[in-house]
């Protein structure tokens, strides 16, 4: 066991030492400073009383505390139920391949391997505890930071032990001929029986416990509070309450009083796990192999799970023509089945009529307004988040940049080709949203009704600008990849932790700044074009025409950037980054 402790301790120390050593590189140091400042100002100064200035915190009244505890206990119950319902494999402890190769053939008892596994999981639990404490304190939960942290630790550790114990129990059931489906039916039957008891009891409780109107929120709260504090439900929730109670403790004394039963429950879980005599080795070896494969794929830049099913190409790729289109074709396949032209046509032909039917059947303007306004919101959101989520470009292909470099293509062709897929996907999605907004946003508050011509004019204008906006938005992160490839390493060797957060923050700020700068000439161009239309009061024509000017300036900017990035790609020396 000492050897296992040594392995765990030394692995932790070495990992931290290499992270500290990495801070010698400016890119990690700057990222580390930015990340540290972010975490301090956003989280830490609200925890453990740091910084002197405390945010207003919320505290629960006894009734509310009871309700919140019941909600937390119910959430825990659902998580535990899922652990019994969903998994279908045999018990497998997560070890690395190196651990499997060293520890499994070594004269180490199964119990010691479980201890090692529990010890390892404590590191992840402690980090999660810290993170959750930061989050909950950030958003104003009252009480001491230490009791909250300890509360989280109790919840997470007990859950961890329960998951392990349930995986052993599931394996034992399988060994005794009880299949996954039989087990699931049994668990569901038990749940159904208990729900029936609660329902029957609540019926007999009379009017005092009848389900209130769903819009009456205070009554609904009171109903749930009573349902979980009287009758049979509290008995079911009791063990779960024991686990969550320390988190909600007021002060150290109450915390220590509540901690006792929670720790006792945790000890029972520990004994359950440690006494289970279940063979987990074979399944663990298989799991470690799968994880190693996934990590290898991640190191080679493929963060998505390895595809198991071939995808139909989005269109037929002819063998001649612009080679940049081949990159679009390849990246659309990489993006998945959802992004084929056929799916988009089907989507348009089915969803739009369905929305019409819904809007007319509800007969209310509110529904149309909600639909139209929602589409506009998603459109704006997609401009901000879309380029970060859709990464079928250099960010995806950076690890195979050596393959791209052997292609007989000009640098700008490769850059352009790489940008096409996410631009096309985003554009199609946003055009769809524009169509929805144009159809349903028939009035605006403080403006009143919007004529179809006005809506069409604005929608057309936005639709013209959107592709170029997407292109410019996608050029920025791709330029960052080519200019600072070391910052975009993927997989386990890639940056983690505070310094990675800092790097992302710096990039995000840089992207916003560059985007704003890119918009200035385009906006100026569009304004100049729009001026005569203001004079003639021909706004309906002015908006699309000015949008064309806006898009044209953005296109020129994008072309300049693509050619410049092409030159960088041609001189790109990945060996210098290694």
């Amino acid at each position: 066991m000492r050897a296992l402790l040594y392995l765990q301790y030394q692995a932790f120390i070495n990992r931290q030492a290499s992270r500290l050593k990495r801070l010698k590189k400016p890119k990690y140091l700057i990222g580390g400073i930015a990340g540290g400042l972010y975490f301090y100002f956003y989280f830490f100064r609200f925890v453990f009383g740091a910084g002197g200035h405390r945010r207003a915190t919320f505290d629960f009244s006894p009734e509310h505390l009871q309700l919140v505890q019941a909600l937390a206990a119910s959430a825990l119950l659902v998580i535990v139920l899922l652990a019994w319902l969903i998994p279908h494999g045999r018990a497998a402890l997560m070890f690395t391949e190196a651990e499997v190769n060293f520890l499994f053939p070594a004269p180490i008892s199964r119990r010691n391997l479980i201890h090692f596994k529990l010890l390892k999981s404590q590191i992840a639990i402690l980090f999660t505890t810290l993170f959750l404490t930061l989050i909950t304190r950030r958003f104003g939960a009252a009480g001491s930071g230490w009791t909250r942290a300890f509360g989280w630790w109790v919840i997470l550790s007990t859950l961890n032990l329960h998951f392990l114990g349930s995986s052993f129990a599931r394996t034992m059931l399988l060994e005794r001929g009880i299949s996954n489906w039989k087990r699931r039916i049994l668990v569901l039957a038990l749940l159904a029986a208990f729900v029936s008891v609660v329902v029957v009891w609540s019926r007999h409780a009379g009017d005092s416990l009848s389900l209130p109107n769903i819009e009456d929120f205070p009554a609904l709260k009171e109903y749930f509070r009573r349902l979980t504090s009287t009758g049979p439900a509290p008995y079911l929730l009791y063990p779960f309450r024991l686990v969550v109670r320390p988190f909600f403790a007021h002060g150290a004394t109450q915390f220590l009083l509540l901690l006792g039963p929670a720790l006792a429950l945790m000890l029972l879980h520990y004994l359950w796990v440690i006494r289970a005599n279940v063979a987990f080795e074979e399944a663990s070896v298989d799991l470690s192999r799968r994880i190693a494969e996934r990590m290898t794929a991640a190191r080679s830049g493929n963060l998505q799970p390895r595809p198991t099913k071939a995808k139909a190409p989005p269109f037929r790729l002819s063998p001649t023509g612009s080679p940049a289109v081949a990159l679009l074709w390849k990246n659309l396949i990489a993006a998945g089945q959802m992004f084929s032209l056929r799916i988009w046509v089907l989507l348009l032909c089915s969803l739009l009529p369905m929305m019409f039917v819904l809007a007319s059947s509800f007969g209310s303007l509110h529904f149309s307004y909600a639909l139209g306004f929602g589409a506009m919101m998603v459109l704006i959101w997609s401009l901000i988040i879309g380029p970060q989520l859709l990464r079928q470009d250099f960010r995806h292909d950076l690890p195979i940049v050596d393959v791209l470099k052997t292609f007989p293509m000009r640098g700008w062709q490769v850059v352009f080709g790489e940008l096409l897929a996410p631009t096309a996907i985003l554009t199609f999605l946003q055009w769809f949203l524009i169509a929805v907004a144009m159809v349903f946003l028939t009035r605006l508050p403080d403006v009143g009704g919007l004529a179809f011509e006005s809506r069409f004019s604005v929608a057309l204008g936005i639709a013209v600008v959107i592709p170029m906006l997407n292109l410019v938005l996608l050029i920025i992160p791709n330029a960052a990849v080519l200019l600072f490839p070391g910052w975009f390493q993927t997989g386990r060797e890639g940056p983690h932790g505070i310094e990675a957060t800092g790097q992302r923050l710096i990039f995000m700020l840089g992207q916003v700044l560059i985007f704003v700068v890119a918009l200035i000439p385009a906006g100026a161009g569009a304004f100049v074009v729009f001026l005569p239309f203001i004079y003639w009061k021909q706004y309906l024509f002015g908006v699309p025409v000015a949008s064309i000017a806006f898009a044209a300036v953005l296109a020129i900017e994008a072309a300049i950037a693509i050619f410049a990035l092409g030159r960088i790609f041609e001189r790109f020396d990945l060996s210098a980054e290694a």
């Binding site: 794929a297 493929n302 390895r306 595809p307 198991t308 099913k309 071939a310 995808k311 190409p313 790729l317 002819s318 063998p319 001649t320 023509g321 080679p323 289109v325 081949a326 074709w329 390849k330 396949i333 990489a334 195979i400 050596d402 393959v403 470099k405 052997t406 292609f407 007989p408 293509m409 000009r410 041609e570 001189r571 020396d573 990945l574 060996s575 210098a576």
Partner: protein, 245 residues
């Protein structure tokens, strides 16, 4: 066909390749030999345009790689030791993609016999994840040969292949050479190089130790009257201690 003059590649202060010059003519197979860290892979990566050389001129079929990379790259194929494939493209989609990149209008006519020769014609709808390592290597070869390259670079081409695969690979290399391709093979398997190479280039510490026709090199390093085999040549040329069993 392949002309290299004064190729130098520096990684910061470290010189991976220094002032390397050699040429490979059509039909010749050059074995690139050297101990670990000699600069073999760096040389091949420079020749295939993956990394830019610090100094020197590389010509592929008369086109300077630095000035006219498109023409030069159209003529070459590079096969790394680990097949580099796209996880999400099937075998057939790999071929369609490669054809478009290299503008091979009649790629179906070329692909059919190629796939049959490599014995993967029944796997066209499979993803790389569904193929064995040898099959992946074959797919990479099919993609690389689709545009009928006149210059071919192999970096450890036999890694992970079974004896049948090794035999087929050797035959395939010799076939391409007979058809007029200029080929460079980097490998530590000296017996393989001895079987397929017409020429040899030995490098150590990024510098050329010797190059020339295999027979001439063997003869030069022969002790007494018998020609040395390539393994003996390697040890004698590089000055590495030869530990005999």
């Amino acid at each position: 066909m392949i002309q290299v003059e004064g190729l130098t590649k520096l990684y910061g202060e470290f010189a991976a390749v220094t002032d390397l010059s050699f040429a490979v003519q059509p039909g010749e197979v050059l074995g690139l030999v050297g101990p670990n860290g000699a600069g073999k892979t760096t040389t091949l990566r420079c020749l295939s345009g993956i990394i830019p050389p610090t100094r020197g001129v590389i010509r592929i079929c008369g086109s300077a790689l630095a000035e006219d990379p498109i023409s030069a790259k159209r003529q070459l194929a590079f096969f790394s030791d680990e097949p580099r494939l796209f996880d999400y493209l099937t075998l057939d989609q790999h071929l369609a993609f490669t054809a478009r990149i290299y503008q091979v209008a009649n790629y179906r006519d070329i692909a059919r016999p190629l796939l049959e020769e490599l014995e993967i014609s029944d796997k066209i709808n499979l993803l790389p994840g569904e193929l064995s390592r040898g099959m992946k290597q074959k797919l990479a070869i099919a993609c690389g040969l689709l545009h009928s390259p006149k210059v071919i670079f192999f970096d450890e081409p036999l890694t992970g292949l079974d004896p049948i695969g090794i035999r087929r690979m050797k035959n395939s290399i010799l076939k391409r050479a007979r058809e007029g391709a200029a080929i460079i093979i980097s490998s530590h398997l000296l017996h393989l190089l001895e079987e397929v190479c017409s020429h040899v280039l030995i490098v150590k510490g990024g510098r050329k130790v010797i190059d020339g026709r295999l027979e001439d090199v063997r003869h030069k390093f022969a002790e007494e009257s018998v020609d040395a085999n390539l393994e003996e040549v390697f040890f004698r040329a590089t000055g590495e201690p030869e530990s005999k069993p």
